[in-house]
């Protein structure tokens, strides 16, 4: 069934690189370089605004642009439709990568750096999982205090530079960046991919320039081996393999949403746990940030107090213990009902990948809650990024106006229901990888119940 499904999906791809002008655009280094230069300039402005601008979040470019405009763009558009597209223009690793490569645009420089390999035991997403959890613990402060946002972003860029000087390629992006982990997890659902066209061509190609690099392009900065790439998670859409392949054997294609979920390769416990960290975080953020309980907001904000420690303990216990624990119970119950001989761990890991759409759509619904309500702040900080009374474009005094408030709840409902349908499809399909239909149904039912309860909980939190 799964092989048939994979084959069916293979036929439902359209190769963008067969369009000559599009291929030229993708192969050219200039569009990505220019985009990166623009995002880097915005990033520098953001750091300055955060560090020296107004301490009032709603009057500061850093808070509004990072946590309202960019974060919303990422979750509502960039990830669902472009996967890791943002990573290809992300400014955070740019300086480190340029120093490492000794060039801004082409592979003709003499780079700096030790080029060490990242420790084997850390080649997973446990570190991003921990980093995302840590961000969650301090989120109420980071999201609202411009200076903290400025320091965090500066810290990210310095860490990326240091790691680029010590370790090979984009180690920071692949193994450390919590946002990269977030994007990587949900990029599997995006309708775009970079894959080799014919594996036999790669097998016969001894130089493997997509890995080692050549005068045409760098070896994969993400340390991926394109011929075995079956998921978007570790593909940064940088197009280096498209440039470095001398046999024109790499294609950029559009495909059905969620196509990667049928791939068994790459399913692992660390990825599963990262998914639960995301699922749990969106619940906790919905309660604390969007709920009506002021004491919870105060607890999340007042770092170091007893209330904050309690908040931290609940966040970590819920995301890393309770939620995966309940899911494990559901998987175990399904396994018992089905009489499955597949190990509990393997079933848990496989089924946890089925709930990736549930997580993404929950984040979409969560984002809709505040994005439209707060988006009008963007116009005023564009004119007055530091909150110093400037009025560059004449929009500084535009009043706060919530957008689309009449349809926001309906959009949230549709997002959550869409996520539930999407996940329910994959819960069943993944169960059928190992089990015949009737047993797969039994295996899936408790997991579906988990997903249903999660969705109802999110509905209550967001539109209740």
């Amino acid at each position: 069934m799964m092989r048939q499904e994979t084959a069916r999906q293979e036929t439902r791809r359209y190769e963008l690189t067969q369009v000559p002008w599009l291929k030229r655009l993708l192969v050219s280094r200039w569009p990505l370089f220019l985009a990166r230069a623009i995002t880097l300039a915005g990033f520098v402005l953001t750091i300055f605004a955060g560090l020296i601008g107004s301490p009032v979040g709603s009057h500061n470019f850093a808070i509004i642009f990072v946590w309202i405009a960019w974060w919303t763009f990422l979750k509502l558009i960039a990830i669902p439709f472009g996967g890791r597209a943002w990573c290809s223009v992300c400014p955070i690793p740019a300086m480190g990568e340029w120093i490492q490569q000794g060039a801004l645009v082409g592979p003709d420089g003499r780079g700096l750096g030790l080029g060490r390999q990242w420790p084997r035991r850390l080649r997973n997403v446990w570190l991003p999982t921990g980093a995302f959890g840590a961000i969650g613990l301090f989120s109420a402060v980071t999201l609202t205090q411009p200076r903290v946002t400025g320091w965090v972003l500066l810290g990210f860029i310095l860490l990326a530079v240091v790691l680029s000087l010590v370790f090979e390629r984009r180690t920071f992006c692949r193994y450390v960046c919590p946002i990269g982990g977030f994007i990587g997890l949900y990029s599997r659902l995006a309708p775009v991919q970079v894959r080799v066209k014919d594996r036999a061509v790669c097998a016969a190609h001894k130089e493997k320039t997509c890995v080692t690099g050549s005068v045409l392009g760098y070896g994969c900065p993400w340390q991926a081996f394109p011929v075995v790439l079956t998921q978007n998670t570790n593909c940064g859409l940088c197009m280096e393999c498209l440039r470095s392949c001398p046999h024109d054997n790499v294609a950029v294609s559009v495909r059905p949403f969620g196509a990667d979920l049928s791939q068994r390769a790459g399913r692992s416990l660390d990825q599963a746990y990262f998914g639960f960290m995301m699922l749990g975080s969106v619940v906790i953020y919905s309660i604390v940030m969007l709920g009506v309980w002021g004491y919870l907001k105060a607890a999340a904000y007042n770092i170091g107090t007893l209330a904050w420690f309690a908040y931290s303990a609940v966040l970590l216990a819920f995301t890393l213990g309770m939620l995966p624990g309940l899911f494990l119970l559901a998987v175990g119950a399904g396994r018992t009902l089905a009489g499955s001989k597949v190990s509990l761990k393997k079933t848990f890991v496989a089924q946890s990948h089925a709930i990736i759409p549930l997580g993404l759509m929950a984040w979409v619904a969560f984002t809709i809650s505040f994005a439209f309500a707060k988006f009008s702040y963007v116009w005023s900080v564009l004119s007055d990024p530091f909150g110093w009374g400037w009025n560059l474009f004449g929009t500084a005094q535009l009043p706060w106006t919530p957008y689309l408030s009449s349809i926001t709840p309906l959009l949230q409902v549709l997002a959550l229901l869409g996520g539930l349908v999407w996940t329910s499809i994959w819960v069943r399909r993944i169960a059928q990888e190992e089990l015949p239909e009737k047993l797969a149904t039994r295996q899936s039912l408790p997991v579906m119940l988990f997903c249903l309860v999660f969705t109802i909980g999110m509905l209550w939190l967001l539109v209740g």
Binding site: K297, L417, V421, Q432, C451, T455
Partner: protein, 152 residues
């Protein structure tokens, strides 16, 4: 079952599920509504919550809210109604409107009152929150449809 039969069945189940979902989500429910009355409510604002945090009225009620604040200046904006008021410490400000739209609406502070100001919210329920109950109903249908639609 052939691929063609499978596709047909999926199409039928999808169409049925969408139809039932749309009915559950959007079809009006005939209800006997309480006669509109005047409601006088008092809301106390403080960093970063309203007390009470949730207020409920009936559709058609004429609602008057007296807003007070215990610490700094706070605002109260009613989503979708577009009405608002601001209260200074020690003073009461009044907001009056007719609750002619049913549903659940966010109450938002719009006067920057501190770091967590963007997250200071309350809720106004005008009648039952049918969207929630309908959505829960559709969630069951959605889970069932997704689950059965793509079985082999």
């Amino acid at each position: 079952m052939t691929n063609s039969q499978l596709s047909n069945r999926r199409l039928q189940v999808t169409a049925l599920a969408v139809l039932v979902g749309v009915v559950v989500l959007f079809v009006p429910i005939p209800l006997t509504l309480a006669a509109p009355q005047e409601r006088h409510l008092r809301i106390e604002a403080s960093r970063y919550q309203y007390t009470p945090s949730v207020i409920s009225v009936n559709p058609g009620d004429k609602v008057t809210i007296d807003l007070t604040t215990t610490d700094v200046v706070h605002g109260l904006y009613v989503d979708d109604y577009g009405v608002s008021t601001t209260a200074d410490p020690g003073q009461t400000s009044r907001l009056t409107f007719v609750a002619d739209k049913a549903g659940t609406f966010a109450l938002r502070c719009f006067a920057p009152c501190g770091p967590l100001h963007p997250f200071m919210v309350g809720k106004l329920n005008v009648g039952p929150n049918w969207l929630l109950w309908r959505a829960i109903g559709v969630a069951g249908i959605a889970a069932f449809a997704g689950f059965w639609m793509f079985r082999k």
